[in-house]
């Protein structure tokens, strides 16, 4: 077994994840390298879900009965846990959504309906980047179409980094909001937050950080980021599907208008008009994803117990090893940074002119699960003149042996189409 400095005790960790024992294609143990798409779930999270449904399930917030009080305490307790996990100044700044996409749309819509000084209109500009996930592109395209605001973006350098050389021209006095990803889901690039935030603050623009690929993998401190909004998603960080988070600065959440209307988000309703509850409830219309929040709470407990620094170190070691080994594969071209510096554990590549679909299929036959396609970041593929990539992405349970399996698998792919 390859030993790398900084690795976690994956043998112990993998025991927490029932699915990692799954066998596919006639007895091949699955090698799950599709973690940037979604992570697997530890038993601790599944136990929390079952415990919730089997003992405490009730609707939250309005009950005087035991189950309703327990469900409310669990749901609001999950908010406390998530707030602590991202070092939020206040628990009331944590809004539960269904996924990161809803979180980002929520911000775009708050701004779309906001009054001055937040309002977005034809005299204002919105800035994103060319490496965003579609979920951080389309909401802003819709906002710009619907308000007349101009959408601008940072381009990319040849080595998969943001091209900030024209930062002064891109972020200007007209810029109302700058929204960008902390870590690219397709290239793994970790972006220089501070530089962008400083410029945005200089011109008085709001900063939205898409931390979907960061929250699972590194220490996320919303205060250190100095952003105004931070979005992420539960299913990529050992949590259930159906739960996302938007953290926002309290005064903004107080000032900005609601998005979805309905039960739970109101203060008082008459047929003629309604007033709204304070944040976070103002932004949580309807019965929330209660069990899913509880599951996410268990997930951040799980990650926290291992330690995000340790997880980060583990992934760094794996990434370093994977980049090195992948670059040994003939005709393999990494799309994105080719070192482990300032990059996460998602590695995209092309293999000669074998189409990623074919690469993925032949890998699958060997039990190796990778993702192929444009990874909801089609502008990146356009930028680098490729139709798609194959992406291997790692997590806290990934091992050097799995990297080796991937490299061997790619060899097999080359032979197959050779």
């Amino acid at each position: 077994m390859t030993q790398l400095p900084g690795l976690l005790d994956t043998e112990a960790i993998r025991k927490d994840f029932p699915i990692l024992d799954r066998q596919v294609h006639d007895g091949k143990k699955v090698v799950y390298l599709d973690n940037a798409a979604t992570s697997q779930k530890p038993r601790q999270v599944l136990d929390a879900l079952n415990e919730y449904y089997e003992r405490h399930n009730a609707n939250v917030h309005r009950g005087v009965h035991v189950l309703a009080e327990e469900a409310t305490a669990l749901y609001e307790g999950a908010r406390d846990k998530v707030a602590a996990f991202v070092n939020a100044p206040s628990r009331d700044e944590v809004i539960f959504t269904k996924n990161a996409s809803e979180s980002l749309n929520l911000v775009a819509n708050m701004l779309g309906w906001a009054d001055d000084p937040y309002s977005v209109d034809r005299d204002t500009e919105i800035v994103i980047t060319e490496m965003e996930h579609h979920s951080n592109i389309v909401p802003w395209q819709l906002l710009s179409q619907r308000t007349g605001a101009k959408l601008k973006w940072f381009g990319l350098t040849d080595d998969g980094r943001l091209d900030l050389s024209d930062i002064e021209q891109v972020i200007t006095e007209k810029t109302k909001v700058v929204s960008f990803t902390l870590v690219s889901n397709i290239m793994g690039t970790v972006n220089p937050v501070e530089k962008i935030v400083r410029r945005a603050q200089d011109v008085g623009a709001l900063v939205v950080v898409d931390a979907s690929q960061a929250a699972p993998h590194m220490v996320l401190d919303v205060q250190a980021l100095q952003a105004d909004f931070v979005a992420f998603t539960g299913h990529k960080m050992c949590g259930p599907t159906g739960i996302g988070v938007l953290w926002g600065r309290q005064e903004l959440l107080e000032d900005l208008p609601p998005f979805l209307g309905g039960g739970e988000m109101i203060e008082t309703v008459t047929m003629n008009s309604s007033t709204y509850a304070p944040a976070p409830h103002k932004f949580e219309a309807g019965t929330p994803p209660i069990a899913q929040a509880v599951g996410l709470g268990a997930a951040v407990d799980y990650l926290g117990a291992i330690g995000m620094e340790k997880i980060q170190a583990h992934e760094h070691a794996i990434t370093e090893y994977a980049v090195r080994r992948l670059l040994e594969v003939p005709d393999l071209r990494i799309i994105g940074p080719t070192t482990a510096e300032d990059r996460g554990a998602a590695i995209s590549f092309t293999l000669g002119d074998i189409h990623p679909h074919d690469v993925g299929q032949v890998l699958d036959e060997q039990g190796i699960a990778v993702r192929v396609g444009h990874h909801c970041a089609r502008p990146v593929c356009l930028r680098y003149g490729i139709p798609a990539t194959t992406r291997a992405s790692f997590y806290l349970y990934s091992t050097p042996a799995e990297v080796d399996a991937l490299v061997d698998g790619l060899e097999h792919v080359r032979n197959f189409f050779g």
């Binding site: 917030h61 009080e69 203060e267």
Partner: protein
């Protein structure tokens, strides 16, 4: 029965025979709502320099919120403002204690009948009922003193 720890006789008594209920002349008026249960209170504060001359109120709600308003009236009318704030803060502390504070003699001296609400603090859904009138009083007092209005005012 555990319930008796919430529905102390003192509370039921205040509920059935509320003190100072009804709206009278005041320097400021607020209307507070508890959105989770629909409890409402309209409350007026009348100041006489540093003295609380009157707290009058009208509202609808459960025994806890009604009794709490009655106790508030009994405790605060006739006291000085700083003393009233001390009582309010002590009551808030007790209500947020999740049943963990067993009121001692010192607390009892400050809160008098209001110590009966100690049991309510074990029921998270009811804590807001007990606090409704107290928050309204604090808000109305701030307004009477010319400070900024509270968020909940409709």
């Amino acid at each position: 029965m555990k319930l008796d720890s919430m529905y102390q006789d003192v509370i039921l008594d205040h509920y059935k025979h509320p003190h100072g209920r009804g709206l009278r002349d005041g320097d400021a008026e607020v209307h507070h709502v508890n959105p989770t249960c629909g409890d409402e209170i309209t409350l007026r504060v009348k100041l006489d320099g540093e003295n609380i001359a009157d707290v009058s109120y009208e509202g609808q709600g459960c025994s806890i919120s009604q009794a709490s308003a009655s106790v508030l009236n009994e405790l605060l009318v006739g006291t000085k403002l700083d003393e009233a704030h001390r009582i309010q803060e002590t009551f808030l502390e007790l209500m947020q204690s999740k049943g963990r504070i067993e009121p001692d003699d010192a607390m009892e001296e400050v809160l008098e009948d209001a110590v009966a609400f100690a049991g309510v603090s074990k029921y998270p859904a009811r804590v807001k009922c007990a606090l409704l009138s107290w928050m309204a009083w604090k808000d109305a007092t701030a307004q009477a003193l010319g400070e900024s209005a509270g968020r909940n005012t409709v």
